[in-house]
């Protein structure tokens, strides 16, 4: 069954192909190719939404992306709910479900529309004024109620089940906008053979050819020519044609963001298709063919459903075959609305009258309208619209005052003229220029390698547009490197011409009225609001914008900017160019978070790094912790063990027999070259020249400011080769720091750095039985204490694979770190584990590693230091080469504040009650009875229960800490103050005998 307002035979859709959809629970029929807007209009539905602030009933203003009113929620399922979808852009599919927004209990009866009556409270700048007092009203009324009442759609409350893809693309010529101008430019560029991308936001190319019934190009109807041209372009290997693709942002050096809506128009997209595809395009040249947007007339109650742009009504008629009413009125200040009247009249729709604000316009369209018997009134204004949920009349008055006449209508089609779409040009940092003759801003000074053509450049008429666009496309290709031009320019056989129009408020909404004549429909800004803003002291158009919200948010002033500016200029008594245009912001139309996030969700949100030994730990039931991007085994609970029990057992086992620990994540850097030792001397505080090959040293790295930056054990493999280890988290920045100095400060040194973090899997075997576990598997290394003393390194083989075997300890026990090529890490671990089992060894995780090192007072950079700790503060003066004349940090370390008395020292703390474990980060005071706020003299950096010590242990940074040995200090906590004693940092085996035990 054909819908009531669908005109048989009109438009380009196949009217037999019907599609079911629902809006606010009611079922309707549409036609394949419809937008939600055209389908609703075909069913006579105009009322589709409530406005942002006043909850006024709203219908369709436009037929495109500039739509400020008809924002709906599209719901596919409980998770797929998209708010604020422009019904004029949403393509219909069978089963589409849409809902109106911002209304309660229903669209036709909205309680909050009382806001319209209370609107004096909500005028310009209301949130700066109305909601000031009383204070209690904030909590109880303003915040919950007003915020709930004002607003648009509701964000979905479930994770987005769709997926989004992304692509970087490069081309020679990027053409943005696929109307006549864009197509002509793309044809010219494509014919030269250069790489061309042509994008348009609509489903079909053609732009204004969708409605311009008077256009004929190359002997065909304009729209048909556009489709043929697109087919030609699509067939070319060097061209990518993207429909449903919005260029939302124009960034530096011709970098343009495009979002392609891949599946929002499909009934069953399937799981393979992304919902949207983000194209990040780098183009040598950009051609902007973004067209122009028709402006509405600013008069009282110009927002009633049924009042729309004249070109929109033409689009609905000429493309979709839909009449927007049965008896329409026209209100215009330029010629283009006449074409709407003519097209509608010819299609059998009643045209009540044309009201033209101009005094004595002439032209063929005026003659044609008259010839069709349409009443034409010059020098008159529509001063008000009648009706509430749908326009019912227009009241006409001579523009300089006089008798009123009310004409019944069911739609008003308006046109105040056309605004060139300079959004992308402006985003490219181009400067717009005001053309005083045509009263419009057009591209002025360009900031990037781009060019504007057609309506967005202020070029009128199809012939001139195609001439300009074709030439620009060819030139862009040439500038991008093309050398052959062989195409033929499309020939315009017939076209329509647009003329000027007016800016600002029409007479019925002039300076002396306070009627609601909307300038910005989406943000509910009226002509009165703009004037009020100026009266209240706003002088800059940027201030007027923020005070009134005109042209803000998702709308970006597509229909409102010029009117708002003109009203502000008039009120200020200044010419428009002196007031200036506000900056257009990206995105041009809203962009989903999904398309920005792209692939970076779930597993791809951030890389998860796992060691070669990870699968073993996982199989053992290890609990993992995140250390940067790495997953590290935290502890290995046995059946029935909680974390404490597991860690206590692991700690005791390592000291009693031995433990295996996966240390693969440690950063590793190989420093190679004849000047390797010289370089190490400069990057670390320690002396290196005299370190024998085969020996290791604990190194400290500072920043130039003298603070500890990283630490680690360094093994000298040969005179010219060091194996440097860094902290797990510090590996990338330490490498960058070393490269920086090597390349820019010490480039004379013959030395090179290579990251080997991932070349080696590292298995720490620590404990009195560690040598017994390793020795049976090792070939070619004498493991006796004499041949392999503490802090030495040897190369040999283990389990038949090459190893760098370090004798070193981060536990205070006899210990080794077995480095093997990563792919062998798992197998060597298995072999060591099997040996370890014979001795009762355990696997231990990072928590036990932390406890054991704290028992020995070994620091962890980044936990016990925080970027403001010097080697002296940390008690590591012994690691600073006293005879050295230079190293990074040598001067910073000597700054007055860094050598002053009273600096915080790293010390040990023992709680008076050994069972109490301090909280890391807890603050320390000297006198618990002092007045609040107390003077904090330090804080706890590390704190653990030590099963080996049978008590709690802690490290802390305390002012003058080393001079407070034995002193009692206090840690105030919510449940009471904890007494602690300042001690040395070594809690276990103070003499260090166990390193050889």
């Amino acid at each position: 069954m054909i819908a009531a307002f669908r005109i048989p035979g009109a438009g380009r859709l196949k009217q037999a192909e019907t599609t079911r959809f629902s809006f606010d629970g009611q079922s309707y029929a549409g036609v394949e190719g419809d937008t939600l807007a055209s389908a609703l209009l075909a069913n006579g539905v105009h009322l589709v939404g409530r406005s942002f602030k006043y909850h006024r009933p709203r219908g369709f203003l436009s037929a495109g992306a500039e739509e400020p009113n008809a924002l709906v929620e599209i719901k596919r399922d409980s998770a797929r709910k998209t708010p604020n979808v422009r019904a004029t852009v949403q393509e219909l599919y069978d089963g589409l479900t849409a809902q109106s927004q911002n209304r309660w209990p229903s669209l036709s009866f909205d309680v909050s529309a009382l806001g319209d009556i209370a609107s004096p409270l909500l005028s310009a700048g209301f949130y700066y004024k109305t909601f000031m007092w009383p204070k209690s009203a904030w909590k109880n009324f303003y915040e919950p109620k007003i915020r709930a009442a004002a607003g648009l759609g509701v964000a979905p409350d479930q994770p987005d089940p769709d997926h989004y893809s992304a692509r970087f693309a490069h081309c020679d010529v990027l053409v943005l906008g696929g109307g006549a101008a864009g197509i002509a430019a793309a044809l010219a560029a494509a014919e030269t053979g250069v790489r061309v991308i042509l994008a348009d936001e609509q489903a079909d190319f053609g732009g204004s050819l969708h409605f311009e019934s008077g256009a004929r190009i190359d002997g065909q109807d304009g729209f048909a020519w556009a489709q043929a041209a697109i087919a030609t372009l699509n067939a070319m290997d060097n061209v990518r044609v993207l429909s449903r693709t919005t260029a939302f942002g124009y960034y530096a050096q011709n970098f343009v963001g495009l979002v392609e809506r891949v599946s929002d128009h499909l009934q069953n997209p399937g799981r393979d298709l992304p919902r949207e595809r983000l194209w990040q395009v780098r183009a040598k040249r950009v051609v902007l063919a973004t067209g122009a947007i028709e402006r509405h007339m600013v008069f009282a109650d110009n927002d009633r459903p049924g009042i729309m742009l004249a070109s929109a009504a033409r689009t609905y008629l000429n493309h979709y075959g839909v009449a927007v009413g049965r008896n329409v009125g026209i209100y215009t200040a330029n010629d283009s609305a006449y074409a709407a009247a003519i097209d509608l009249k010819k299609a059998g729709v009643g045209v009540a009258a044309i009201v033209d604000l101009r005094d004595n316009p002439t032209g063929s369209v005026i003659d044609e309208a008259r010839a069709l018997g349409i009443e034409v009134n010059f020098g008159r204004a529509v001063i008000r619209a009648g009706g509430k949920l749908r326009v019912s009349s227009m009241t006409v008055q001579p523009k300089n005052g006089g008798g009123e006449r009310t004409i019944p209508v069911d739609a008003i089609l308006m046109s105040a003229g056309w605004t060139p779409s300079v959004h992308l040009f402006s985003q490219s940092r181009g400067k717009v220029a005001f053309n005083d003759e045509t009263k419009r801003f057009v591209p002025g000074a360009y900031a990037q390698d781009c060019v504007s053509v057609g309506a967005c450049n202020g070029t009128d008429g199809l012939s001139a547009t195609i001439d300009e666009a074709y030439a620009a496309g060819a030139k862009a290709a040439k500038d991008a490197g093309a050398n052959t031009v062989k195409g033929t320019k499309p020939k315009v056989d017939a076209s329509e011409s647009w003329s000027r129009g007016m800016l600002g408020a029409a007479p019925g909404a002039g300076p002396d009225t306070t009627v609601k004549a909307f300038v910005d429909f989406q943000n509910d800004v009226t002509a009165k609001d703009i004037r009020q803003a100026v009266h209240e002291g706003m002088r800059s158009i940027e201030h007027v914008k923020r005070f009134t919200t005109n042209g803000m948010a998702t709308d970006q002033g597509k229909t409102s900017n010029m009117h708002g500016l003109a009203i502000a200029a008039e009120t200020l008594g200044k010419p428009i160019p002196q007031v200036g245009l506000t900056t257009f912001r990206a995105p041009y139309t809203p962009v989903t978070f999904g398309s920005i996030v792209g692939h970076a969700r779930g597993k791809l949100f951030d890389p998860t790094r796992k060691t070669a030994i990870h699968p073993w730990a996982e199989a053992q039931g290890a609990v993992f912790e995140d250390v940067g991007q790495w997953k590290r085994a935290w502890y290995f609970p046995k059946a029935g063990e909680d974390m404490h029990a597991a860690v206590d057992r692991e700690c005791v086992t390592v000291r009693k027999t031995a433990g295996l620990f996966d240390a693969s994540t440690l950063g590793k850097i190989e420093v190679v070259g004849p000047d390797a030792a010289k370089f190490m001397e400069l990057l670390y505080t320690n002396p290196w020249e005299k370190l024998e090959p085969g020996r290791c040293r604990y190194g400290i790295m500072l920043r130039e400011d003298g603070f500890i930056y990283d630490d680690g054990v360094v093994g000298r493999l040969a005179a010219d080769r060091f194996h440097v280890t860094t902290t797990t988290g510090g590996a990338p920045r330490v490498m960058n720091h070393m490269e920086d100095y090597l390349q820019t400060e010490f480039p004379h040194l013959n030395v090179w750095l290579t990251s080997t973090t991932e070349q080696w899997a590292v298995i720490a075997v620590q404990g009195p039985k560690s040598r017994d576990i390793i020795a049976p598997l090792v070939e070619g290394i004498d493991m006796s204490d004499g041949a392999l003393p503490h802090m030495s390194v040897r190369e040999g083989r283990i389990c038949g694979v090459p190893t760098r075997l370090f004798r070193m300890s981060f536990t205070g026990e006899r210990g080794f770190e077995v480095n093997v090529p990563a792919d062998y890490g798992q197998a060597v671990w298995d072999a060591l584990w099997a040996e370890g089992q014979k001795h009762g060894a355990c696997a231990y995780g990072t928590e036990t590693m932390h406890v054991l090192r704290a028992e020995k007072g070994y620091i962890i950079v980044g936990q016990d230091t925080d970027g403001t700790v010097t080697p002296n503060d940390a008690g590591l003066d012994w690691a600073v080469g006293k005879k050295k004349t230079d190293f990074v940090g040598i001067r910073g370390m000597a700054r007055p504040d860094l050598v002053a008395k009273g600096r915080k020292h790293l010390v040990g703390l023992k709680t008076k009650d050994p069972k109490v474990v301090l909280e890391e980060g807890a603050q320390i005071v000297g006198d618990p009875k002092q007045a609040i706020p107390m003077t904090m003299i330090g804080h706890v950096t590390s704190s653990y229960w030590s099963e080996n010590c049978g008590r709690s242990i802690a490290l802390a940074l305390v002012a003058g800490g080393r001079d407070r040995m034995g002193e009692t200090l206090y840690v105030p906590m919510p449940n009471g103050t904890i007494e602690v004693e300042v001690t040395g940092m070594v809690f276990f085996d103070e003499k260090g005998e166990r390193l050889n035990g």
């Binding site: 997926h163 893809s165 992304a166 692509r167 970087f168 693309a169 490069h170 790489r195 393979d272 992304p274 595809r277 780098r282 692939h599 970076a600 597993k603 791809l604 951030d606 890389p607 998860t608 790094r609 796992k610 060691t611 070669a612 790495w630 190989e670 190679v672 070259g673 004849p674 090959p693 493999l717 040969a718 005179a719 010219d720 080769r721 013959n750 030395v751 090179w752 290579t754 990251s755 080997t756 973090t757 991932e758 070349q759 080696w760 070939e779 070619g780 190369e795 083989r797 389990c799 038949g800 694979v801 090459p802 090529p821 990563a822 792919d823 062998y824 798992q826 197998a827 060597v828 072999a831």
Partner: protein, 193 residues
């Protein structure tokens, strides 16, 4: 140079199993196929230009001096990564570290065979797949066969080598290989568009 580190070892073959990351993983989608490549011998080679001729001779492949290029001979490929840096990959089991071992010219050779994992991306949609996360221009004009570069894929660093018109080798660090393979797999599903 650095003889201590690069001992030629005549020791027996490893007695334990080698377990490369992602071994054998494959994926195929419209227009593109992914495969984790078998282990290869690799070194990071650093040297001033004065040493290039001698090192090229020792390695049996001419170290390229032009940015973003590579050279290959008999299963061994040298990729220019920086003005004094090459990634040498040997796919036929000859250790380039051993070839540099006797060289006395100024250089640094560090074995990184286990540090990297290689994934092949092949098919007409191979470039589109990689361009899903790599911002470089991968057209044949800008990135011809043999072109090689360190670059970005999504959130990680890769080394990219074009081995044929429709084929790339993607090298990344071992622990990033899961991310890279997953990223490429997801991208492959949309690359034919």
């Amino acid at each position: 140079m650095a003889k201590a580190a690069a001992k030629k070892s005549a020791a027996a073959a490893p007695s334990v199993e080698r377990r490369p990351a992602l071994a054998g993983q494959e994926l195929s989608a419209t227009g593109v196929a992914l495969a984790v490549l078998p282990p290869a011998e690799r070194i990071s080679l650093r040297a001033p230009y004065a040493s290039v001729a001698a090192l090229s001779k020792a390695l049996g492949v001419t170290l390229p001096r032009k940015p973003k290029t590579s050279a290959a001979k008999a299963g061994r490929t040298a990729l220019w990564l920086g003005p004094d840096e090459w990634l040498v990959i040997d796919e036929v089991g000859r250790d380039p570290l051993a070839d540099c071992f006797e060289m006395t010219v100024l250089h640094s050779a560090v074995g990184i065979s286990h540090r990297n994992v290689a994934i092949s991306v092949t098919g007409p949609a191979a470039a589109a797949t990689i361009n899903s996360g790599c911002p470089q221009d991968l057209s044949l004009d800008a990135f011809p066969v043999g072109a090689a570069s360190r670059t970005i894929l999504g959130k990680v660093e890769i080394v990219l080598l074009r081995t044929a018109t429709d084929a790339f080798r993607v090298e990344c660090w071992r622990s990033f290989s899961d991310y890279v393979f997953t990223f490429l797999s997801e991208a492959a599903g949309d690359a034919a568009a």
